[in-house]
């Protein structure tokens, strides 16, 4: 019980700090930090999405960048067509693209989810190391596909004219955009918490602990894993859509396996299988990257050993400092 109170206290303090952060940094005259913390939040969202299948489902997807990048490209491509009026390929009967967030962002999630339905249907026939490799292989296919399509910039990527418009809000300001992202992250955390505690979530955690036994108990595990995979991809796609808006640029690097690796690091560093772990992980990882790279361009030399130490000595990751095993009890 004391553990839960401690966790709740930390979470509410974090939410309060996040809520006043733009004012605080602008008072200090460091407005550029708002963009940095928006990035932290977006990576937190992507981490939460990966953690949903990795931490709760035991599915080590090494291809999550495919869904993140797809989400980003959906926003980028729709914005590209909206600004030059060219009809969408194969969908010429539709309006040529859109810059409306209310349409483009849900579409990012939906397209990523559909892609995951196809990729997952195949990948989830395998397990363990094979699953890791085949998810990586699919992600790389999509990466090379993005590179080879010249319409959307190929290797150079695609610049957007502006951020999505989100009536009645104005996202062109960094502070507004930051708050929109913050609200999305908080809502997502709430949804994930609910789903993890539901019957579906229990099945997912049961599969993580012992899939063979779940089958013997009468659970068709494949369809539960596939559903979780699709949900996770939708959230990753949404994170990608936000990232495209943050940078106002999309490129194949969004789809790169390095990106999948970053997400795995964020989840493991933060605390695998905990609700807030990926948020703590994203915060630690992005801030370390930012400040170490100011100091030296070989920041990986410092980050690498930190990661090794965390994996070796802090089993629960960064969030494990706050959650000392309470969430292990299911």
């Amino acid at each position: 019980m004391a553990g839960l109170i401690r966790q709740r206290t930390v979470v509410w303090i974090a939410v309060a700090v996040a809520a006043v952060l733009p004012f605080a940094v602008s008072t200090l005259g460091m407005d550029y930090l708002v963009g940095l913390f928006t990035r932290v939040l977006i990576f937190a969202l992507a981490g939460v999405s990966l953690n949903f299948i990795l931490g709760y489902g035991g599915l080590v997807s090494f291809g999550h960048a495919a869904f993140f990048g797809t989400g980003a490209y959906v926003v980028g491509i729709l914005s590209y067509h909206a600004s030059n009026g060219e009809p969408l390929p194969l969908l010429a009967w539709l309006p040529p693209g859109t810059e409306l967030a209310w349409i483009a962002w849900p579409l990012s999630a939906a397209v990523a989810a559909m892609l995951a339905l196809v990729i997952g249907a195949i990948c989830l026939r395998t397990s363990g190391l094979y699953f890791i490799m085949i998810t990586l292989a699919f992600a790389q296919m999509i990466y090379y596909f993005a590179i080879s399509v010249p319409t959307y910039g190929g290797e150079d990527g695609l610049s957007m004219w502006s951020r999505s418009t989100m009536w009645p809000l104005d996202l062109s300001g960094d502070t507004q955009f930051y708050y929109v992202v913050l609200v999305i992250v908080l809502i997502t955390l709430r949804i994930v918490q609910t789903v993890v505690g539901s019957r579906f979530g229990r099945v997912l955690r049961g599969i993580r602990d012992n899939e063979k036994r779940m089958i013997a108990l009468g659970f068709p595990t494949y369809r539960y894993k596939l559903t979780a995979f699709v949900i996770s991809a939708a959230l990753a796609g949404l994170a990608g859509a936000l990232m495209a808006n943050q940078t106002e640029f999309v490129s194949p690097s969004f789809l790169d396996w390095h990106r999948s690796g970053d997400l795995l690091v964020i989840v493991i560093l933060g605390g695998i299988g905990t609700l807030f772990g990926p948020v703590a992980g994203a915060m630690t990882y992005i801030l370390l990257e930012e400040f170490l790279s100011m100091w030296t361009e070989h920041w990986m030399i410092v980050l690498g050993p930190i990661l090794i130490l965390v994996v070796l000595y802090a089993k629960g990751g960064v969030w494990g400092l706050v959650d000392r095993g309470e969430s292990i009890r299911e």
Binding site: G197, R202, V203, L217, G218, F219, I328, E330
Partner: protein, 258 residues
Amino acid sequence: MWTEGSRSVSEVLLKVENLHKAFGAVRACDGIDLKVEEGELLSLIGPNGAGKTTLTNLLTGELQPDEGLIHLESRDITRMSAYKRGLSGIARSYQITSVFPRFTALGNVTLAVQAQQGHSFRFYKRAKFDPALREPALEILDEVGLGNRAQAVASEMAHGELRQLEIALALAMRPKLLILDEPTAGMGHEDTARMIDLIQQLKGTTTIVLIEHDMDAVFALADRIAVLVYGKVLACGDPDRIRRDPEVRKAYLGEEEA
């Protein structure tokens, strides 16, 4: 006790015909014929590597046979997938404890109860305090003697308790056929005695196939015994007959008595 007379009128619950399964050159099951009648306790015995666990895996669908037929209540389930067999009423416990280590004892049994209550594509309501899951699970924990350990995390439970939890998971499936794969494996005297008591209680209400190395337990519990050697049924019959069977004594029991 089952007599020859009463057995002839009872229903056959499980019928196995000419079941074959080979792993490379090793014929783990080499033409097994077996019948399990409603309500009886059939004990499967045999030396290590006789094919007992392979047979179990074929019955539960974790393995597919190379040849042969399996019928449950006159329904052919030979090609039925493992999860459907679980829902059709074939439950098993594992020789090597196979539970959900990060769940509490209650959480473990709750999962088995949940499987019985239709699909789990329910994303909203919190399952932890759902009485529809909790109450049946608590009842079963009581039944196997873990009532006071409901909140213990499985990964922190003692070996004997985990063996009880194994049985609880299988019982929560409301099985027609309960396959117990060496339920006393690795247990001390006291725990073994408790487990035998538990099986004695279940006997009569559930049809049981018991795989066991502890011969005292087998002869105390079994209505019939089937002896498996090299993937074949060497003999099958009531305990007295098996005890006297010269083939069985030579192949199996004799070694233990010597």
